[in-house]
Amino acid sequence: MVTIKELAEKPELFTSGHRACAGCGPAIALRYIMKALRGPTIVTEATGCMEVVSTIYPYTAWSVPWVHTAFETAAANASGIEAALKVMKRKNRLKHEHVDVIALAGDGGTYDIGIQALSGAAERGHDFLYILYDNEGYMNTGIQRSGGTPHGASTTTSPAGTVIPGKVQYKKPIAEIMLAHEIPYVATASIGYWTDVIAKVQKGLEAKGTAFLHLFAPCPRGWRSETSKTIEISRLAVETCMFPLWEAVNGECSLSPQSKAIALKPERKKPVTDYLKLQRRFAHLFNPKFQYVIDEIQTDVDKRWNRLLKNCNMPPVAKA
């Protein structure tokens, strides 16, 4: 296991000088990902915050080969790069023994517009790691709702109105959808726990075939949270089971240590309000008129947590 000092001495492959907001969760996510590389790597990215802030021509924050083509194409891009590398290797035109391919996309480019390409690539089993940096909204275009936006959150296309209090629908269970594709590696991680992120990126790179990592990365701008609390919120998401951590190796699910600790001692599980109160995108829910939405959120969290416990062969939590 590499030490934090060794990681700190590695050159930054996602450098300073990018134009992300102060306190940006996805920028932290990208730094962790780049610290986890194991060898020559090509990165392809979908249109979104991280793509835009890091490659404003002529500047680039990327010290690895990097390509962006369109919004819905992260997985299609990766398919093309992987196919090219494979055949170039066979025809002796590739000097590297192996080159890792990473596809990066936000929740916009994954849950919604990018899901077709992702599903297709997973079905074909291309050897690459797809990392979804989830800030729960189309942040780059101005904080509009996505399939990954949670229930009750206020976004510009699901605003907290007097009649409708934020997003009506629930967060699409994207990691479970990818699990159903029967790919060799699926995992969830949060930037609140960097050792877990790095370990999972490495496992994803090592997996032979399509690997999928759902990486939770808050957006202080879109969530209207304090810039200094990005990591703290990322931990609370796990501690409240809003975003539990697990991984599935060849379909076998297991909880990651941080979530397992809660499964083993259910009293450790914090109420969702601890998490919601730090983000003004949920502020309207603290009006007594919309208390029911917080109850809905809690119920949904509990339901999904129980479902996860079942998948991981752990005993469900008894209903309160």
Binding site: T44, W62, T69, T73
Partner: protein, 410 residues
């Protein structure tokens, strides 16, 4: 011209000819989605792969949009890539068609021209490729399956030229060419492989301050496909326009080199001028209708009518000088369009020919016939009537109607 190499005659339809040409060109990655009437291309190629006849990664993508996206990134990684589509598939790729040209990726794509929906129609029409006119792709339109075979091979050389780096679209008429059997002269595998050669990579300035080969390579990292703000986008687009100014020389060189090798040429590579030296009336068209029109021209010539035809082979870049030179001495010109620019007072080819002839001293009258939409047959009779109309215009000096629909039931 006598061929330098031995060639074999094979009965192939347009799709099979295209698939064979791609196979022989040692293509690295083929990423495609089936759509009538291109299906035979992907099916044939799948057979080659399954039988180990070709060392290619054939990616059966889940949509045409992904087909072009993956071909694009494969090309940027250093692979020789090929895809094929038609109609709705090309329309679905539309975003990526522009992106591919903007990223300067040398992708070669065969389009078996088919009508755009709605209503859905699977037959021949040029609306699909016309919708991509402005994208920055080189467009070559072929008259028969032989030319389809020859042009796909030439396309790899053109697209990959290090000074050009512009994707090439080979257009062949859906069903009329794609599904019709012809005797095609085919080269030996090693001859084609030698002709297309290996990819060369021009040098570009990287963020590390070095000039490195233009490909995704961990040894020399490059950032491709960045965000341009208003301070740079305009310059990048001007560079693409410049590529179109460089293209004619490369298209011609490749065409001529291939002609020396095989004995086959297509006009001067840009236009195929048929009986135009002393023509008084002439038509202009793209694609397979040229074949039928040439037969009509022969008939008319036998009757002493000074008829001619100008087939445009290189539609993008449009050969301004060749068109001007061949048509300015003609007394009346009819442009035949197999697509319409709805509400645009005529079809796209008509607009372009008219635009070019506007500068001609002689200023011949130019009229438009929209024909064959959705696979409607373009018969010799219809073409004869067009020439009759042209003769009438020359005789009376008047044009009754500038834009007409030929072969339409009123």
């Amino acid at each position: 011209m006598v061929a330098k190499v031995e060639q074999k005659t094979m009965p192939l339809n347009g799709d099979e000819a295209v698939a064979l040409a791609a196979k022989q060109s040692d293509v690295d990655v083929v990423s495609a989605y089936p759509i009538t009437p291109q299906t035979i291309i992907v099916e044939k190629f799948s057979e080659y792969v399954a039988n180990g006849e070709v060392d290619t990664e054939f990616v059966c993508v889940e949509s045409e949009h992904s087909a072009l996206a993956s071909c694009l990134t494969a090309a940027l990684t250093g692979a020789r890539t090929f895809t094929a589509t038609a109609s709705a598939g090309l329309a679905l790729m539309h975003e990526m068609v522009y992106v591919t040209a903007g990223c300067r990726a040398p992708v070669v794509m065969a389009v078996t021209n088919r009508a755009l929906s709605a209503p859905i129609n699977i037959h021949c029409d040029h609306s699909d490729a016309m919708a991509e006119r402005d994208s920055g792709w080189i467009q070559i339109w072929v008259e028969n399956s032989q030319e389809a075979y020859d042009s796909v091979i030439q396309a790899f050389r053109i697209a990959e030229h290090p000074d050009l780096l512009t994707p090439v679209m080979i257009n062949l008429d859906g069903f009329f060419l794609s599904h019709t059997l012809e005797n095609v002269q085919v080269l030996a595998d090693d001859v084609v492989k030698k002709f297309v050669g290996t990819r060369q990579f021009p040098l570009v300035l990287s963020h590390e301050g070095k000039k490195v080969p233009f490909k995704l390579d961990p040894d020399n990292p490059l950032t491709m496909g960045p965000l341009d703000l208003p301070d740079y986008y305009f310059e990048h687009k001007r560079q693409q326009e410049e590529a179109m100014h460089i293209a004619p020389k490369i298209i011609k060189d490749v065409h001529d080199e291939y002609a020396k090798l095989t004995g086959r040429s297509y006009g001067n590579g840009f236009v195929d001028a048929y009986c135009l030296d002393d023509a008084e009336i002439a038509t202009v068209c793209l694609g397979s209708a040229a074949g039928t029109t040439k037969a009509v021209v022969d008939q008319l010539r036998a009757q002493g009518v000074k008829a001619g035809l100008l087939r445009i082979r290189s539609f993008r870049p449009i050969p301004f000088d060749d068109i001007m030179k061949n048509l300015e001495t003609v007394k009346a010109v009819a442009v035949m369009d197999r697509s319409n620019s709805v509400g645009g007072d005529g079809g796209p080819l008509f607009h372009e020919i008219r635009h070019i002839l506007y500068n001609a001293q002689s200023h011949p009258p130019v009229v438009n016939y929209i024909y064959g939409l959705g696979g409607r047959d373009m018969s010799p009779t219809i073409i004869q009537n067009i020439y009759k109309d042209l003769a009438e215009i020359v005789k009376t000096g008047r044009v009754k109607k500038f834009v007409q629909f030929a072969g339409l039931r009123e």
